[in-house]
């Protein structure tokens, strides 16, 4: 229970953010918080609270897994790499061959996101493949 007390502010914030499927479990002194929030901003806020309670996430006593609901109507995603092009691969994994690239800040088509980490996308040139979801941001029209 001690770990839950430590991260109480975070759990409360997740509840207040209206997180769905929220699960807070403690196992072997590690707290697992899973849930889905409706906006990227809500997710960032929870991570900011995590960073505040445990600066730089060094304690290793929390596994925070917050997903953001992506509206089914969203069909476009923006490439949010730092500056480079984004690789588009044949399959979901960095071990897969690169079949195409999308430019930094380019808006491309989201085909499906059945895999959390690797989303199936299509470039404006019609190249289709998997890109790492960290570098894709849903665009609402």
């Amino acid at each position: 229970m001690a770990v839950q007390d430590k991260y109480k502010e975070l759990i409360d914030a997740a509840t207040a953010a209206g997180a769905t499927d929220l699960q807070v479990r403690e196992q072997d002194n590690v707290l697992y918080i899973d849930g889905t929030v409706s906006t990227g901003a809500a997710k960032d806020e929870l991570w900011a609270i995590y960073d505040k309670i445990d600066p730089n996430f060094t304690s290793g006593d929390l596994v925070l897994n917050v997903n953001v609901t992506v509206d089914a109507a969203v069909t476009k995603v923006k490439v949010i790499t730092e500056s480079s092009n984004l690789n588009i691969r044949k399959g979901p994994g960095t071990d897969q061959p690169i079949v195409g690239k999308a430019a930094h800040h380019e808006i491309i088509t989201l085909v499906n996101k059945s895999n959390d980490q690797w989303w199936l996308v299509r470039t404006n040139d019609g190249e289709e493949g998997y890109s790492y979801s960290r570098y894709l941001e849903p665009v609402t029209e």
Binding site: R25, W47, N56, F57, L64, T94, R134
Partner: protein
């Protein structure tokens, strides 16, 4: 004077008779307890009766059991109303799923690939990070790693 006294006596006698016609609270309580004894998993029910009003407290495993106790209590003679303050114990959450190392290693490699100064080791579900990272990139890396369902992330990175 005498007549008045007799009248009082009569009223008293009637009221005593009237009251004693109604089942006593203690008897109602016993009757309810007997009625609910037949309900499975209702042994935690605590019954209190005051002036014919039965109050149920205690923990039940589900809403159906809680409702069954209430129904049984309502059917007992002499019960005017039932206040159901019973609580339902939520089922224990399913245990935390931890990814197998093989799947975890693949996912971790994908997640750290773009952070060239970060080294990650996976053992028994624990992801250990060494090397260095920019502060701005740290949440992104941690988010990607924690989405992979590791046992925990042991962050030994030097944050620049």
């Amino acid at each position: 004077m005498k007549v008045t006294n007799r009248l009082f006596l009569l009223i008293f006698a009637i009221s005593v008779a009237f009251v004693s016609c109604k089942p006593k609270d203690a008897d109602i309580k016993t009757a309810i307890e007997q009625a609910i004894a037949a309900i499975p998993d209702a042994s935690n029910a605590v019954i209190a009766v005051k002036d014919g009003v039965a109050t149920i407290t205690g923990e039940f495993k589900d809403d159906a059991t809680k409702a069954a106790v209430e129904t049984a209590a309502k059917a007992v003679k002499g019960v005017k109303s039932v206040v159901n303050n019973g609580t339902v114990t939520p089922p224990p959450p399913p245990p935390v799923t931890i990814s197998a190392d093989d799947a975890l290693i693949k996912g971790v490699n994908d997640a750290v690939k773009d952070f060239t100064k970060v080294k990650a080791d996976v053992k028994g579900g624990v992801v250990t990070l060494t090397g260095e990272i920019k502060k701005a990139s740290l949440p992104k890396l941690m988010q990607s790693l924690m989405a992979l369902k590791p046992k925990k992330v042991d962050n030994k990175l030097t944050v620049k």
